[in-house]
Amino acid sequence: MSIESSINLIDELLREQQSLTAVERFSQFHEKGGEPELANQYRDLIPLSKPGVGEQYSFEVDLEACSGCKACVTACHSLNGLDEGESWRDVGTLVSEDEGVATQQTVTTACHHCADPACANGCPTLAYEKEADTGVVRHLDDQCIGCQYCTLTCPYDVPKYNDRLGIVRKCDMCQSRLNEGEAPACVQACPNEAIKIRVVGTEEIIDRNRVNSFLLPGTAPSEITQPSTRFVNLRKTPGAIPEPADKEDLTPAHAHTPLAVMLVLTQAAAGILLFDGLSRFIGMRLSPQPEWHAVLGALLAVGGIIGATSHLGRPLQAWRSFLGWRKSWLSREILIFGPWAGISLVYAASLYFTIPNWIHFGLALGAIGAGLLGVFCSVMVYVFTRRPYWSFPQTSVRFGLTLLGLGCIFVFPLLAAAILATKIGFEIFLAIESFSPFPKSARRLAGPLNRVWRERLLLGFFGVVLLLVSPTIPGLIIVGFGFSFAGEFLARSLYFRAVDHPKMPGGVNPQ
């Protein structure tokens, strides 16, 4: 073939490749509007009428009918136009072993549209709404500031953070479809008709959850949120309880680094301001108290607020976070820590001016009080999630000792060393699998988190040693504070990453 005709051919082939021919030749004819073609197939899978008073829509999943094809997950993704990798339905596996007989069931799960949704109860901006007529728990995407607190409060890991948008999104049970008598995406897509929509009374949900305290093996107690989903035909053998296939999975949880920074900064700040005030005004310490202690405290407080804001997907909308104060500990924490940073700055600055002592005192009281109250809110933010690893004793001891330990370094370095050493001891105790009430968290620390765990111990240990010798060598105390602070930061990071909590079953060797 001549070069010229070869080039002509290539040009023609490339041109032809780019012309899309399917439309002109094969495009399908359809009447505009009209009933969806699948309507006949899903008609029996959705209720005939809308929920009445005291009723709501709910998912019913037939575990026996599900054969594990997972089409529901991809259908949710495609039919809702979600981002790459985003789906509001997840699948996991329950397995059991009964004397050599293995049983396996796939569990498909989405939002449980709870009667008492923790996502809504914890949300600082009221970005959740439980619709009065349908019971659907709807997420208001434009209201969300991307704080991701609901990803912690939901015991079923339903809300998922979308990095591109800086907000959380979740299943709305395809409400607009239900309103038009169409089935939700997952219901439409199941080849085995394993997912149905049912109307259920709120009382019935609560009764049901009283009888079956857990949705499925391994899940959180249903009384926390009163999930409306019903899983039927769980396959049980006499000798074995099904267990999640990912029971042994040690993949660490999200690190939430800005939150860890914020928590340690605010706790250090509150502690420093506390001991500064105590020594300055009650005279616990005889030598004059340098002003920079208060300045350091105030700056750390401001740093903490900046750290917290950097955690938000949409920081410019953060002003809304007061809206949820009636129910949300996070809202309360923000409401207190915000002004607190301001008061602390004013207090620190005031020390450089000669003004009546009662003003100093009043400002100090404000800074100390707000700081302690804020840290208490911080504790409650995590206690509210009902995760055992973050229970009140666990969290208050950790946060409290951080506050006291870092707080008194510059006033009572030896006491600080003792407090921080105690805290390390407490953490070590919990990290020993055979003693720990949290063996899986212990295994995470011994396994995938081992490097960070050892770094935390090393930093903490050096911090304590430096503090112990600091009275003899001036300047060491600052280094000791640095080490201790870094150690506490890693400890807080591990508080997030090692957390083990009840959840919906995951898959074998999950992503």
């Binding site: 490749q17 899309l20 399917a22 439309v23 399908q28 089409a71 136009g81 072993e97 897509a189």
Partner: protein
């Protein structure tokens, strides 16, 4: 006032936003086109349906088009195969097209180890032809070969096969269908006289007893499982598999036979059927041959022997035989568990024999039915010009050669008069230095080839490796001297044939990236550059080629000469072969073969074919005490994952990395628990995987999914002697902590 009210409402929305740009991202609206609500952002201005490009189920997907370009898809409700459903792969069919590692221009590696450089198509085609011609001149026509696929359109396979063998003068070319279907092909050819899977999917719905053998239908062919569930006759569903697979969990009965004892099981059942007089004597007498020899052969397969070898109790065997011989409608379905074995062909034929002796063939809800793997394996079986001559013909038959030559308008001397080497023999040829140049099209042997531990070294022995693929990143493409960028499914036109012989259409609904060309266009360009453009003057479009294939099929069991082009296939929802021109109009959407009891052998009788049991090629022993089974991992993974790995949603649905399923007894022996990383060692290699302890695998066996590129480092390169299909399902290993 209303202005004030608006302002207040606005303020209200600002404090608590029920609407806004983020909310709008997810607004759904009526999609028209029979769709129901769909995301407004992706709303189509037209739709068209086409056959899915993953597995052989052959579902139809309704593509949502905006300005001719696909934006989304939903399963097609008006298609007899899938009736509005699809598995996750189908739903995500478009995602792999948009992957960042698509091959967008021809790439040439001037030296091994050097980085490949982009070149233009003219240079690529010239380079291809120069190197291939030089190799063939220097080392003869047997020094080049191609390895093709079951993933491209039939017309493309035919073009490739015809260009390579009649145009270039190659002798050797095979497809990756050798890895999945060769056994069924061979078994059917010998037993029925033609490679003819007899069933239609409606048989799933019309059976009383469904016997699934080595087939994990629930996750390998989820939409076929849907058809099983649509059976209203409350069928017995029997799964014969050493593993308690997802399908076995769903079955009414799981027959957990010892690995590699399937042939014995089927002979044992046949013997029981004879003993208990549960055979269809009339059917045997009228429509089969060699039954007496078979009966004699079975004498040794007593219930005691069968039970001892298979580990299935005599009572269970008897019950099984009773079900099969009950006179109810019994259908047998097999997949890779049968096909990928060292005595696979005879095992498949043992299944065929059970169907024949009970008269379970040619009637609704019956059949000895091989479920195919790839979306167009069936097209490849008839029209790829590899194992058989185009259109189900025979290279060694002079009459066939002359017929094909006449239809194509070429000299019959251009058609080789002997068969090609099989896949493993081509690999062996490279090892021995006989084959110097290899052309790999749309397959990934550096991942999938059995015992591939040496494969990279073997590729290194080639003088010239051409890879034609949609990605430049596959394990194989990374070794290519020349990479030809191919357009993908959805970026081109053509037909594919599914498991039940249904011809479906693939359409051009998306633009190929940059300079990627359809395989069809690539073959056309190469043929022109080679200098045999004249031979393919009539092969301008895929539909031209389809018409040629129709003509080639005339008079064959796979006669499709009655189809009036692509439009009719599109219009009626796929067409099953045979569809000869004299077939009555509107023959029905679900047709099965052999309803008249006439087979495609010379005497029109089906043959009972059988053989002695062959020794296990690598039985577990003291050093390697466990048997490695491999297979499908999840419904979201396809073969070497070159495409499914590109969809983030599909990745989420599969496991992270490789894993090993091991029985609690064996786990205890090895001292390991679920979640631990272990080393699996065979005589070939050692690989790492995470352990998952489960009695779904039998004691003494372990299971590893096939999708991880490491798995086939372990497997043993043994082949069924009749089909030359690799025996992926068994080799000896040990597990170390």
């Amino acid at each position: 006032m209303s202005l004030l009210a608006d302002k207040i409402a606005q303020l209200g929305n600002r404090i608590r936003s029920h609407t806004g740009p983020l909310t709008e991202q997810l607004v759904r609206r009526p999609g028209d086109f029979g769709l129901g609500q769909i995301p407004e952002r992706l709303a189509p201005d037209s739709t068209t349906s086409m056959t899915c490009g993953f597995c052989s189920t052959g579902c139809s997907l309704k593509i949502h088009l905006k300005d001719g370009q696909a934006t989304n898809l939903t399963p097609e409700p008006n298609y007899p195969v899938n009736t509005g459903m699809a598995c996750p792969k189908g739903w995500e069919g478009l995602a792999p097209l948009a992957a960042p590692d698509r091959a967008t221009a021809p790439l040439l590696r001037e030296k091994r180890g050097a980085n490949p450089k982009e070149i233009d198509w003219a240079a690529a085609a010239n380079h291809f032809c120069d190197r291939m011609k030089k190799t063939m001149e220097k080392h003869g026509p047997e020094s080049v070969a191609f390895l093709s696929t079951g993933q491209i359109c039939t017309e493309e396979m035919a073009y490739l096969g015809a260009f390579a063998k009649f145009g270039m003068g190659m002798l050797h070319g095979d497809g990756n269908t050798r890895q999945c279907m060769a056994t069924a092909v061979r078994a059917y050819k010998e037993s029925f006289g033609f490679d003819a899977p007899p069933y239609t999917y409606a048989d799933f719905e019309e059976s009383d007893v469904i016997v699934l053998i080595g087939s994990n239908l629930c996750i390998a062919h989820p939409i076929m499982w849907q058809r099983v569930l649509q059976n209203e006759r409350t069928p017995e569903i029997i799964v014969i598999d050493p593993r308690k697979t997802e399908t076995a969990m769903q079955a009414t009965q799981h027959v957990a036979l010892a690995p590699k004892s399937d042939l014995v099981l089927f002979y044992g059942l046949a013997q029981l059927l004879i003993e208990r007089e549960q055979i269809d004597g009339e059917f045997i007498a009228k429509h089969t041959s060699s039954f007496e020899e078979f009966r004699k052969h079975l004498k040794d397969f007593t219930p005691e022997y069968t039970s001892a070898e298979t580990g299935i109790g005599i009572e269970e065997l008897t019950q099984l035989a009773d079900l099969i011989g009950s006179g109810k409608r019994v259908s047998f379905w097999w997949t890779m568990g049968v096909n990928q074995g060292h005595e696979a062909t005879r095992t498949a034929q043992a299944i065929i024999n059970l169907a024949l002796m009970t008269g379970n063939i040619g009637k609704p809800g019956t059949g000895a039915n091989s479920i195919t793997g790839q979306c167009n394996a069936m097209g490849s079986r008839l029209f790829s010009n590899t194992t058989g001559l185009l259109g189900g013909h025979d290279f060694t038959n002079e009459g066939d050669r002359e017929k094909v030559a006449a239809v194509l308008g070429i000299e019959s001397e251009k058609i080789p008069d002997r068969n090609s080497l099989a896949y493993d023999q081509i690999i062996e040829g490279i090892c021995e230095g006989k084959i110097k140049a290899l052309w790999v099209i749309a397959t990934n042997p550096a991942h999938s080839w059995i015992g591939r531990n040496e494969f990279e070294a073997i590729l290194g022995k080639l003088d010239f490796l051409v890879v034609q693929d949609m990605y430049h990143t596959t394990e194989t493409a990374q070794h290519a001297d020349l990479l030809l960028p191919a357009a993908a499914w959805g970026e081109k036109e053509g037909t594919m044939i599914n498991s039940e012989r249904r011809i479906g259409l693939v359409k051009k609904v998306s633009r190929a990236p940059d300079q990627a060309l359809s395989d069809f266009s690539i073959f056309k360009l190469l043929a022109n550059t080679w200098g045999c453009g004249d031979m393919f003057r009539g092969w301008q479009t895929p539909e031209d080629v389809f018409k040629i294939l129709q003509k080639l099929s005339e008079g064959q069991p796979c006669d499709i000469s009655g189809i009036e082009g692509y439009d009719e296939i599109n219009h009626v929802g796929g067409i099953q072969w045979p569809f000869p021109s004299d077939l009555k109009k509107n023959p029905g959407q679900e047709r099965r073969l052999f309803e008249d009891g006439k087979f495609f052998t010379d005497d029109q009788r089906a043959r009972f074919i059988f053989a002695d049991r062959q020794p296990d090629p690598e039985a577990p022993d003291g050093t390697f005490p466990l048997r490695l089974l491999t297979g499908r991992g999840s419904s979201a993974q396809w073969h070497t994952q070159t495409r499914t790995g590109k969809s983030k949603v599909l990745r989420l649905l599969g496991p992270k990395g490789n894993h090993l399923e091991i029985h609690p007894v064996d786990a205890k022996k090895a001292g390991l628990v679920s979640g631990e990383t272990v080393r699996i060692v065979s005589r070939r290699a050692g690989i790492l995987a995470k352990a998952f302890v489960t009695s779904a695998v039998p004691i003494g066996s372990v299971f590893v999914p096939m999708h991880d590129s490491e798995t086939n480092r372990l497997t043993l390169a043994v082949f069924d002697p009749h089909s030359r299909q690799p025996s992926y399902k068994s080799c000896a290993v040990r597990v170390e902590k």
